[in-house]
Amino acid sequence: MRARIVVRLRPGILDPQGTTIQRALDGLGFPEVRDLRVGKVLDLTLDETDAGRARQRLDEMCRKLLANPVIEDYTCEVLDGEDGGRAR
């Protein structure tokens, strides 16, 4: 089953990369952009058929390695689970 993990910097953590990109967009004629933040998307395939168990494992992966709880939040999404959990 396919899954997607999104890791984001927590609110309030300075994101100089995001600020720089926002400034570049402003220079290109997009002055309406606000609060641009850079995160990470991890797409993966799991050898697992149970969506509930998959979510549990994804959560464990995030806590152990994929996100740093000091600075980051994460969301996990099962994209094509057998429980009909088609997220899109």
Binding site: I13, L14, P16, Q17, K40, K64, L65, N68, V70, I71
Partner: protein, 237 residues
């Protein structure tokens, strides 16, 4: 005192540390591969700088879950000492052996320059021979060295005397201008509650011979060896 210098894929300062420990300090030292977990023959393990695993995911994230880092809590519990510099500091934070974390420099530049730091605590074996407020000149070379901790943790670090070094001017004034990366409270180095694990962004091993411009980095090692002499054995094993 027996030193081990840990090598991860992508470590770059291992030979510098090995050189300083063996050729300048004349202490026994071995390289230790990141898959090794048998480390009890050492008194002090050094995690050098570099770009372990290419800084993939986050600086120090993958190395922070390697077998040798998994062995560190036991090593420290048995009285072992750990020094992490630059990427070694990032690895120790990622592994939860040191508080806080290190983020992209606020200037977005890779900073390779001399810095001055003040000594903020002198209880750790690495700083026992130093004076509070003493200024050390050591270089930095990193893109992700901005120390971050939330306000509650920062307060706790200050109260528990876990802030070891702060970026300052040559005269020892802690100023915004002396902060090369935007670190919270100008923090350049911290330790665990016992002071037995110390991490810092500057490179003491690159300030250990007059010919490179400073010998202040040696003071951390002298402090360490002095602690050993004072106590008979740092480890009490």
């Amino acid at each position: 005192m027996r030193f081990g210098v840990v090598i991860f894929p992508g470590t770059w300062s291992d030979m510098d540390f090995h050189h300083v420990i063996s050729q300048v300090l004349h202490q026994p030292v071995e390289y230790v591969w990141h898959r090794d977990t048998d480390v009890d023959r050492f008194d002090c393990l050094v995690l050098p700088g570099g770009f372990s695993y290419g800084d993939y995911l986050r600086a120090g994230a993958v190395a922070g879950r390697s077998p040798i880092v998994g062995a560190l809590p036991g090593f420290v519990a048995r009285g072992g000492l750990v020094l992490g510099s630059c990427n070694g500091f990032q690895i120790l934070c990622e592994a939860g052996l040191l508080p806080g974390t290190l983020l992209r420099n606020d200037c977005l530049q890779f900073r390779c320059q001399w810095t001055h730091v003040t000594v903020e605590q002198t209880e750790s074996p690495f700083t026992r021979g130093l004076r509070r407020g003493q200024v050390l000149k050591m270089p930095i070379a990193h893109g992700e060295g901005r120390f971050h901790a939330d306000p509650a943790l920062l307060r706790q670090l200050r109260e528990r005397d876990q802030v070891v070094f702060r970026y300052a001017t040559e005269a020892g004034e802690v100023t915004v201008g002396a902060n090369p990366n935007g670190s919270a409270w100008n923090i350049a180095g911290v330790c665990n509650e016992d002071g037995t694990v110390v991490g810092l962004m500057p490179h003491p091993e690159r300030a250990a011979e007059a010919t490179v411009g400073s010998t202040d980095g040696l003071l951390l090692f002298h402090s360490l060896l002095g602690s050993l002499v004072e106590n008979g054995s740092v480890l009490g094993r």
